[in-house]
Subunit: 224 residues, 2 copies
DNA sequence: CTTGACACAGAACAGGCGTTCGGTTATGAT
DNA sequence: ATCATAACCGAACGCCTGTTCTGTGTCAAG
């Protein structure tokens, strides 16, 4: 029986990946084999090379053989100042939204994903636990969100006043995007469009918060 | 009198910058000095080094001395897969929008800028001639654009049917964002919100197209 | 004409770096 | 016990690469 820690990646691999990421962030370029060795307590360059090969085989990084510092992290690992956010599906009024499972982030069999510059992110949402949904239909126009827009969400069951949230109204069978405010006897769900009236929800839990909206992106595609 | 082409950067510098960018895009890492020399018809490594120093002095790239291939483009040059777009000002109904001058791209005394992943860009808008404006006020709600949103524009005086454009209506003294359609005797400016009616413009040039909208970004900032 | 900057060439140097190879130790399977 | 394999070490090799130094030609200012 193969109980040996050989399958997948071990603690040593993680440490190396972490160091590469940190080094890259600080120096703007990848570390050399020897630098990895020093900071990960590996005394021989051949061993580092050994691990690097394994990490490459498992898809965690790419290597440019023979080229100095020729390695880069792949997948949804933040590369440079970028963040890869998986697009889990669509959001529309008539259906509940897909919520991320643990597997969605681990596997970068990236069906679909969007890249966001971290500089666009609000206060350190650096977590890789963000996910994205594509808006289908015109049902979100009262949230100033159009068909085809992409909304970036952070999974959350709670919200503070003023957050825009994606909620599932179970009694209406409807998904919607609204600004969230707590009132004395319930919640007020305020559309982004100021000309439209809010929805008042009683304290009973007819409302399920699915996530906070972090960002909305509208691409004006058009075969140019 | 210094008529010598010494001021700013010359043709050779441009070629080098272009090569670095192309090489980076293809190999995912910067070129070596010798590789730059080969592809830019410079026979001596010292000359390449000579130009690289100048480019660094002028802020076009950063160098990590002593480190192999230790250079990277700075400013609004696409870094990796990122594009830095300058935010030139605000856009609001009552005022004309700022349009980019030549200097706006050359100098990256970047007051303000946003970074966009090229993967989010429509068909090869890779040009560095994009610019961004921050929306002020609620006057663009009929274009589904909110106060605080950021619109990414491509400078243009023309538009095709279906493009969303930023236009200046000189007889109304108003800037607005609308979908553009050419009609038999003028133009139809269609709001993004389908419940709102279009503006019809006669063939006389009361309308100045300032740019095509490429993208809209809404950040849900909130001190988390 | 002289001077000095600028643009450029070529060669040599030295250190950085990936690769490779022979060898050692521990672990699990048979 | 034996044996294959994974994990690891250390040193040597050799190319790659940035740096530096000497030298050449051009062009404009004095």
């Amino acid at each position: 029986m193969m109980v040996r820690k050989s399958k997948g990646i071990g603690e040593r691999h993680q440490k190396i990946l972490g160091f590469i990421e940190a080094y890259q962030r600080e120096h703007k370029h990848p570390p050399s084999i020897r630098e990895i060795g020093e900071h990960c307590d590996i005394s021989s360059t051949s061993v580092v090379n050994y691990y690097l090969d394994q990490l490459e085989k498992n898809g965690y990084l790419e290597r440019d053989r023979k080229i100095s510092r020729g390695m880069r992290l792949t997948g949804n690992t933040p590369l440079g100042d970028m963040l890869r956010v998986p697009v889990l599906g669509v959001i529309q009024a008539g259906e509940p939204i897909p919520v991320p499972s643990n597997a969605d982030f681990g596997s970068f069999t990236s069906e679909d994903s969007v890249e966001i510059a971290t500089s666009l992110m609000p206060a350190k949402e650096k977590g890789r636990e963000l996910f994205a949904l594509k808006v289908q239909g015109d049902s979100m126009i009262d949230a100033m969100v159009n068909d085809g827009d992409i909304v970036i969400l952070k999974p959350s069951q709670e919200a503070r006043n003023g957050d825009m949230v994606a909620v599932w109204l179970s009694d209406r069978n409807e998904t919607t995007l609204k600004y969230f405010y707590k009132e004395k006897d319930g919640y007020r769900l305020q559309p982004a469009n100021p000309t439209m009236k809010p929805i008042m929800v009683k304290k009973n839990e007819q409302v399920e918060i699915k996530g906070k909206v972090v960002m909305v992106i509208r691409k004006m595609d058009r075969l140019n």
